[in-house]
């Protein structure tokens, strides 16, 4: 890891910080910053030096001067001489420059993590944050150090990292959920609260599925911006591919663009994406279709018809499932119909996806086979229960036989004993 590289080259690099990126391997040179800083009574000056020990940059061999400049071996205050390249605490675009000096240099980064992207700075300046910073000199917007906590930066996969999937929402929320801080921007601050009610957060936090989306999966991370109305569907269909494809071919896709309303989010909301249910479709209470359609128009009628189809499939599936469960508990062999019923379950789930085509015909193609399979499985369960009835009939027959045998035996005993008595008397 430690390679001897010309120290002079290092100094030169820091001096011309903005013009000449520094392709130097981090090295464990003699660094005296921490010796004083860790002992300083002022927490602002001591804490960063203490925290930095666990920072990924420190682990890879970078020291304070890599970002802050200055003369590392110097043990005096003269180490922090601007003439020696010392820049103090960078702010605003300076932060981006400091980070980008290495992180935008493909040749440099390759030495550490060849797979890591090097376009974060470029991306950043396309984000709302970066544009405001550059164009309006807005110092309140997020820069690199707002999300990647300086001095304790960890890889995103490290659970202690502020940008680990589980912490991203809170990290973004530290500004975006702060109504006071966000006041000048006049945008809502309920995204974090809404997101935490969503199925995505539930999957992530409760089920530990780290692939569930958090803020950056839809908004981008370095190029963070709200998805545009016309392409929100593209973002969602990254994961929800089938639904997305069906939707893009559906009638709604065109109409929504014309109306200027977003695709998925119109029905499913944007941050508070709740777990879906069959109640979303149709013309009843919780149905989202009624936001545009009435029960009388063509769309409303289609919605009601699709709801009826889904409901009937679900009910038939449940009915078959229940009877098989009952038969199974009674000790009947129903694994074949149970196996068959898996197909109905698949059909039901496919049908739920097929709703996004918003066509009764398309839905019917998925529902009908499911109904057939359910009916078959139900018949299988019914047969098993009949077989159970047969057991009891069989029992009744054997009970009659046993009873007859008992009666016969009792008669036999009586007959035998009266004969015995008779012979005893004769004997007397």
């Amino acid at each position: 890891m430690i390679r001897a590289t010309s120290r002079g080259f290092l100094w030169l690099g820091i001096a011309v910080i903005l013009f000449l990126p520094l392709p130097a391997i981090g090295q464990q040179q003699v660094e005296n910053c921490a010796a004083c800083h860790q002992a300083l009574p002022d927490g602002r000056l001591a804490e960063p030096a203490k925290q930095f020990v666990g920072d990924i940059h420190a682990v890879k061999g970078f020291g304070c001067v890599s970002c802050h400049g200055g003369d590392a071996p110097d043990t005096e205050m003269s180490a922090m001489n601007p003439a020696k390249g010392y820049i103090g605490k960078p702010t605003g675009t300076k932060i981006v420059d400091v980070c980008g000096r290495c992180h935008s240099d493909a040749r440099f980064m390759r030495q550490y993590n060849p797979a890591l992207r090097v376009d974060q700075v470029t991306e950043y300046y396309t984000s709302v944050h970066g544009r405001r910073l550059k164009e309006q000199k807005d110092s309140k917007v997020a820069t690199c150090a707002s999300c990647h906590k300086p001095h304790s930066i960890k890889a995103p996969s490290d659970p202690r990292s502020s940008v680990h999937p589980l912490h991203v929402a809170d990290t973004c929320g530290s500004c975006h959920a702060n109504a006071e801080y966000m006041a000048p921007y006049k945008i809502p601050t309920d995204q974090l609260a809404n997101y935490k009610k969503s199925v995505h957060w539930r999957m992530m936090a409760n089920k530990g599925d780290l692939s569930a989306p958090t803020c950056n999966d839809c908004h981008g991370n370095h190029g963070a911006a709200p998805p545009g109305i016309s392409w929100v569907g593209n973002v969602c269909s990254q994961c929800h591919a089938v639904n997305g494809e069906l939707f893009s071919k559906s009638r709604h896709s065109q109409v929504f663009v014309q109306m200027g309303i977003p695709g998925c989010a119109t029905c499913h909301d944007n941050h508070q994406i709740l777990e879906t249910s069959d109640e979303l479709i149709g013309t009843q209470d919780k149905a989202v279709c009624t936001r545009c359609h009435t029960g009388e128009d063509r769309g409303g009628k289609s919605a009601a018809a699709m709801r009826a189809m889904i409901d009937s499939l679900r009910q038939e599936y449940d009915k078959a499932h229940a009877i098989l469960l009952k038969a199974g508990h009674a000790g009947m062999e129903v694994s074949q119909p149970e196996f068959d019923l898996n197909e109905a379950k698949t059909a039901l789930i496919k049908a739920r996806a097929a709703i996004h085509a918003f066509s009764v015909v398309t839905l019917k193609k998925e529902v009908d086979p499911g109904l057939q399979v359910s009916a078959k499985a139900y018949a299988g369960g019914l047969k098993a229960l009949e077989e159970l009835g047969f057991r009891r009939k069989w029992l009744a027959v054997s009970a009659v036989i046993i009873l007859a045998l008992i009666v016969g035996l009792v008669l036999k005993i009586r007959q035998m004993e009266s004969a015995q008595k008779g012979s005893d008397k004769e004997g007397v």
């Binding site: 898996n342 197909e343 789930i349 007859a404």
Partner: protein
């Protein structure tokens, strides 16, 4: 008079003996019948809860193909890779338990419900499935394919 009673007595006795014999015979039958059925080996020789013998022959499975089989009441998928290796997984997608299928065009196990992709180690590589498919052990015994759960 006494003769009539005697005759009646004998008749009653005969009837009773006949009755007893018949019911005893029926009784023995009602015990022996379930007993013999119990002793007859069932059509499936072993419990399929942990291992199942497929009705396919190893030769009948083409490379780069997959098929669904029954593992108790649950679906399983048997895949033969292009290299000719037999593999078996649970066929219930880890997302919402749809039945997955083999896509020979991309050599993936694929779930049609929400476009979930699994590689031929069962690992979820694309789409919503949160976990890998459970892999089963495949053994070829003579002319039979036996799939069993790994404990």
């Amino acid at each position: 008079m006494a003769e009539g009673m005697l005759k009646q007595f004998i008749e009653r006795r005969n009837f009773l003996n006949w009755f007893l014999g018949t019911t005893a015979g029926a009784f023995v039958f009602s015990v022996l019948y379930p007993l013999s059925r119990y002793l007859t080996p069932p059509p499936v020789a072993e419990s399929t809860a942990r291992s199942v013998t497929l009705s396919l022959k190893p030769k009948e499975v083409k490379p780069n193909s997959g098929q669904i089989f029954r593992f108790g009441s649950q679906p399983g998928i048997l895949v033969k890779t292009q290299a000719g290796e037999l593999k078996a997984f649970s066929a219930a997608c880890t997302h919402l338990a749809c039945i997955v299928q083999y896509r020979s065009d991309i050599s993936h196990i694929w779930c049609a419900c929400h476009n979930g992709h699994f590689d031929l180690n069962g690992k979820n590589i694309e789409g919503p499935p949160p976990k890998a498919l459970e892999e089963y052990a495949v053994n070829v015994r003579a002319d039979q394919i036996v799939v069993s759960k790994k404990s």
